[in-house]
């Protein structure tokens, strides 16, 4: 099927009739955000859907604004396709009329028109033709809005739909059901015949009862296994969903713990610093004020020593003087008392007489006043008089006072000695102060470092939260849930192993009992009934195995084609392989599509690789459709390549062109605004894309951003 034309009339931003004329191959519609790409996609979606619609919102605001009372306008989407040698058109529309300034919306109609190659046109049922043109089951693999919709197998029914559509698996279900019923009837016929023979009636009945019981047990176990498999699949899905966040959740928890510990440490450091920094208290409590005492003490000690020394010297001098005086006195006393004056020594009176007469009567020479002889005699007289004076004793009032009678110097020395003992302690204060200051400084450095680390950790934590799609509190829950899921998964797996083992045993017993029953049947039952049963049993096995092989072959084929396309679209870069995992889901199978290395190890591709993986699978499905239906269907994709780089985009376009007979891609990436002219234009790179037809949709200018009735999308064929 090839879409030839799509007409959109008065549908949202498409005012009036706008017609896209498409060709086979690659069709590209360019348009920046808000210019009508998504509305184009939605218009097609509306054409193919039957849901409840808000007609007012579908109707072009510009058309509504331009209507006068009594006017009517049609809202329509029409698609004309070439299919099976005919031209087929479906159109969906409703009428809008304006009366008394009110809009009235008519019923929606869907019409089909078939036109033969000879030009004969006939009106046909729109719904039937629509399904004929583009079966809804095929459309789910052909129309996509954004990358998020590309993983069609997220929906577990998608595989069943695909199998129904393109493989014989579903068809072979009819064979399996029919043959299974026939076999059961043949088995019952054999049993009925066997029961006619009374010789082994009891044994046969026991065997039958045992077989029935085993079958019930088998059926119950199968149900339990099926439920566990479903549970396991759900858990796997939950684990998958959580695992994309669990790394972040684990990191968040680690950071939360680290931050909490660091905050405690910082609080502790601050408290310790605050306590140690109470230096004023320490001045008195710890005698820190004495820290500068030693130099003062040294000065004091020096002075005390000096005083002591002086004291000793003075004391010595004093004692000497006292001794001398004492000696003198004693000598004088002795002289006075016992020793006569030497011969020729004049007495005092004699000396005074000589001085008066100015004549030395010892040598009988004159000694005039002021002469040397006179001075000599005078000096001798004074010395004599002085020597005759009596020295005061200690008991006398004029006796010299005792030196250092208050003993201050000794006291000072004693104080100095006492302080000397304290010096060690005082010196320790200095060390303590230094140690305390060093300690505080180091703790401050630690604090600074811890605060820096804390700030980094806050930043890292907020990065983790912002890089996750959920809030921090949810992340924490995800980790808890994730661990819970893992635990449940392990428990379920254990249960599954146990049940599967039990099932194996039951089946062995069933086979044994069935064998015993068959042996009895062989003796008692008509041969032809047995032969019929055996052949039907074999045919049942053949149909079941063929169905299973058909399913596996189909998946293998889909996988092979997907990989072929994936390699093409990923040329020149690391690709890995696409692997389809068949996961039991109760009695059904669910597909899980993953990227694996050639060794089979799974890996998470980047967003472009994942998008390409999904697109490759879709293109593979498209090829299978072509093979099965002998006709192709177009791929319509809105913004499929927004996370591709230039090279991947190019490869993607090539793959679309070579794998699909017709594709319509809606892209925004190639429309840019020229900054110098302030005009929109198409990038030169767009010329390099090998396309068959291109359109540029853009809003008709001028328009006002805030007035919907000025909006009208124009189509420019490039």
């Amino acid at each position: 099927m090839i879409i030839e034309e799509i007409e959109i009339k008065n549908y949202q931003c498409y005012f009036g009739s706008k017609v896209f004329k498409f060709s086979k191959g690659l069709n590209i519609i360019l348009g920046k955000n808000g210019d009508g790409k998504t509305k184009f996609y939605e218009a097609i979606d509306w054409l193919f859907s039957d849901g409840i619609e808000d007609k007012e919102s579908l109707f072009s605001s510009k058309a509504a604004f331009n209507m006068s009372n009594g006017d009517s306008e049609k809202v329509m989407v029409r698609m004309t396709v070439a299919q099976d040698g005919e031209k087929r058109t479906i159109r969906k529309h409703f009428l809008v009329t304006k009366e008394n300034d009110e809009l009235d919306f008519g019923n929606t109609k869907l019409e089909g028109i078939e036109e033969t190659s000879s030009g004969e046109r006939s009106l046909v049922d729109g719904s039937r033709l629509r399904d004929l043109i583009f079966d809804s089951r095929i459309r789910q693999y052909s129309m996509f809005k954004g990358e998020s919709e590309l993983n069609v197998f997220d929906n577990k029914d998608a595989l069943n739909n695909l199998i129904d559509l393109f493989s014989e698996t579903k068809h072979l279900d009819i064979y399996v059901d029919c043959v299974s019923e026939m076999y059961n009837k043949a088995d019952r016929a054999v049993t009925a015949d066997a029961k006619k023979n009374k010789s082994n009636e009891k044994k046969y009945s026991i065997l039958e009862a045992e077989i029935n019981k085993l079958k019930i047990d088998e059926s119950q176990l199968k149900l339990q296994i099926s439920n566990i498999q479903k549970e396991l699949t759900k858990l796997e899905e939950n684990i998958d969903q959580a695992s994309s966040l669990v790394d972040n959740a684990e990191k968040l928890e680690t950071y939360n713990k680290r931050i909490s510990k660091r905050e405690d440490k910082i609080r502790d450091l601050r408290a310790r610093i605050a306590a140690l920094e109470s230096y004023t208290t320490n001045l008195y409590d710890e005698n820190w004020f004495l820290v500068f005492f030693e130099p003062i003490y040294n000065e004091f000690k020096k002075k005390a020593i000096s005083f002591s020394k002086d004291r000793r010297r003075l004391m010595a001098e004093y004692n000497q003087e006292i001794g001398r005086k004492k000696g003198e006195e004693e000598a004088k006393k002795k002289i006075m008392e016992s020793i006569p004056l030497p011969i020729g020594t004049p007495s005092q009176a004699h000396m005074e007489e000589m001085l008066d007469e100015e004549l030395c009567k010892v040598c009988n020479r004159p000694a005039e006043k002021d002469s040397e002889a006179y001075q000599y005699m005078y000096q001798r007289l004074q010395e004599f008089i002085e020597s005759q004076k009596v020295t005061k004793t200690e008991d006398d009032d004029d006796k010299p006072k005792k030196l250092f009678q208050y003993n201050y110097t000794t006291k000072l020395t004693a104080i100095s000695d006492i302080h000397e003992q304290y010096l060690h302690g005082i010196r320790q204060i200095d060390i303590d102060i230094k140690d305390t200051f060093d300690f505080v400084e180091n703790r401050k450095k630690d604090l600074e470092e811890q605060e820096k680390e804390l700030s980094n950790e806050y930043e890292e934590r907020s990065k983790i939260v912002s890089s996750s799609s959920v809030e921090a509190s949810s992340l924490t829950n995800i980790l808890k849930n994730y661990n819970g899921f893992q635990k449940n998964k392990a428990e379920n797996k254990d249960d599954l192993v146990r049940y599967e083992f039990d099932l194996k045993i039951i089946r062995q017993n069933l086979n044994t009992k069935q064998g015993e029953k068959d042996a009895l049947d062989n003796i008692q039952v008509d041969k032809f009934l047995l032969n019929t049963k055996e052949i039907l049993g074999d045919i049942l096995k053949v149909t079941e195995q063929t169905r299973s092989k058909e399913f596996n072959d189909f998946i293998d084929k889909l996988e092979a084609i997907s990989n072929e396309i994936f390699k093409k679209t990923n040329k020149g870069s690391f690709t890995g392989l696409i692997k389809f995992y068949k996961i039991p889901y109760g009695d059904e199978i669910k597909l899980d599509i993953r990227l694996v290395e050639s060794s089979g190890k799974k890996f998470e591709g980047n967003s472009a690789q994942v998008t390409l993986l999904h697109i490759s699978v879709l293109l593979a499905i498209s090829e299978l459709v072509k093979e099965a239906d002998d006709q192709s269907y177009p791929m319509i994709m809105d913004a499929p390549v927004s996370n591709f780089d230039e090279m991947h985009s190019k490869l993607f376009f090539e793959a679309m062109k070579s794998s699909v007979d017709q594709s319509i891609l809606l892209l925004k990436d190639y429309v840019i605004r020229n900054e110098s002219t302030d005009q929109l234009e198409i990038k030169k790179e767009f010329d390099e894309i090998k396309k068959d037809k291109a359109f540029w949709i853009r809003l008709d200018e001028p328009y006002e951003n805030e007035l919907l009735h000025t909006i009208d999308t124009q189509i420019i064929e490039l």
């Binding site: 019923e181 026939m182 053949v542 149909t543 195995q545 063929t546």
Partner: protein, 76 residues
Amino acid sequence: MKKDKILQKLLNNEFLIEKYQIKENEKPKTYYEALKSDVVIIKTLAILVDELEKSDRPSNSAMYEKIKQFLNVNAL
């Protein structure tokens, strides 16, 4: 033709080939040819395909009656 395609898929089953020792040259190419086969299981499969691929497919009970009659007589 769909009947031939399905019959071929069933006839290519390994278990069938092994148990009934069906040689390649014994395998009919069409369902019509299979309906004339002397190998009972091949003919049974051909009847099955022929009946189940009809637009007015018979009921499972009717199918059983038909196959049973054939097998009771021919499965020797």
